[in-house]
Point group: C2
Chain length 201, copies 2
């Protein structure tokens, strides 16, 4: 139920079309939130029906048009309300750790491939987040700079700090996952070696 809030979060920065939002999810904010356009467009309609956003037709080229959504006062209220209410932590599903717990069933090569894929996945995430932090620091994050432009100067430090804080946490998490998978690769080797040369004691 919080695609809605993710959309509100992005729209607090500036009015956007469904397409813009879809791009934003695909690129910058992926791995924090993601949604296909087939989910975004209808949700925007619903949000408009609920008075959280208003859509206005904007000409696009000679004949084309697009629909740009901006947050209403009610939308801001809803977003603030969500921000002020605690999250409910639902039990998660974690296929990677599920598999790890039963790794003895996999061929050693498959087990290694699995862990390497884990590393590759989080290494890519890590790279993305590092780039985000760099953008925050150099002032080249378009979303952040737009957000700052609409906010009083007194809040700039906080806004910047929270963004950085978020991405730092994600980087640390990615690094932790990489480390864990690397220890797993070592473990596989150790177990195979122990197997090849059983204890002489």
């Amino acid at each position: 139920m919080s695609l809605r809030h993710a959309l509100l979060a992005l729209l607090t920065v500036e009015p956007m079309t469904g397409y813009d939002l879809s791009k934003a999810f695909q690129a910058s904010v992926s791995h924090v939130w993601h949604a296909p356009d087939s989910q975004i467009y209808p949700e925007l309609r619903r949000m408009e029906a609920d008075g959280l956003v208003v859509g206005t037709e904007v000409p696009w080229g000679p004949r084309g048009k697009k629909r740009e959504y901006s947050v209403t006062a009610a939308g801001l209220d809803a977003f603030r309300a969500w921000m002020n209410e605690p999250l409910s932590y639902t039990r998660e599903r974690d296929p990677a750790h599920l598999k790890a717990a039963y790794l003895e069933w996999a061929e050693p090569d498959a087990a290694r491939a699995q862990l390497r894929a884990h590393i590759a996945n989080f290494d890519q995430q890590r790279t993305e987040w590092l780039e985000k932090v760099r953008e925050i620091d150099t002032g080249t994050s378009t979303m952040l700079e737009k957000r700052l432009a609409h906010a009083p100067a007194s809040e700039h430090t906080s806004i910047r700090a929270y963004k950085r804080y978020t991405y730092e946490g994600l980087i640390a998490r990615a690094e932790h996952e990489i480390e864990w998978a690397e220890r797993g690769l070592d473990l596989i080797d150790d177990l195979l070696q122990a197997d090849a040369a059983p204890p002489t004691a």
Copy 2:
């Protein structure tokens, strides 16, 4: 699509009823996988139709009966196949980090409550996983000991090692999340202090 594999994983240890599986998800394996019984029973039926498991009626008390499912050879094949094929990493949704990125919208108290809830959540997980590791080490994990009883002695080291490895990773992750949230609490305080006493430079 991998509730099915989670069920297979548990059933490789020993035959179980839907109720047993539901309990197993609620207790021990929650946070790695979780499913309500309303999902489990129909899935077991489907798995039986697909030949992955067979259910047998077992008497339970004078009049009652229960349906115990055990994995078939085809089920073992399917499980091994899944173990040997790489996971597809889908983009995840992370409400906690989404919120963190927009923390300036929350009241300071709400922000603190949010982070404290984050800490409480992962602290509880951490406690659970630590207990799991303790059970593994002391041989009091019923599931693990049953698994070992059915496995050749040569594999005992690996099985034990992979289980431990999994839980260690989860513990480290929980600790990382706690650390991150604690840094967040400090950050909130710092930003409020800076606000109260603006730079004199």
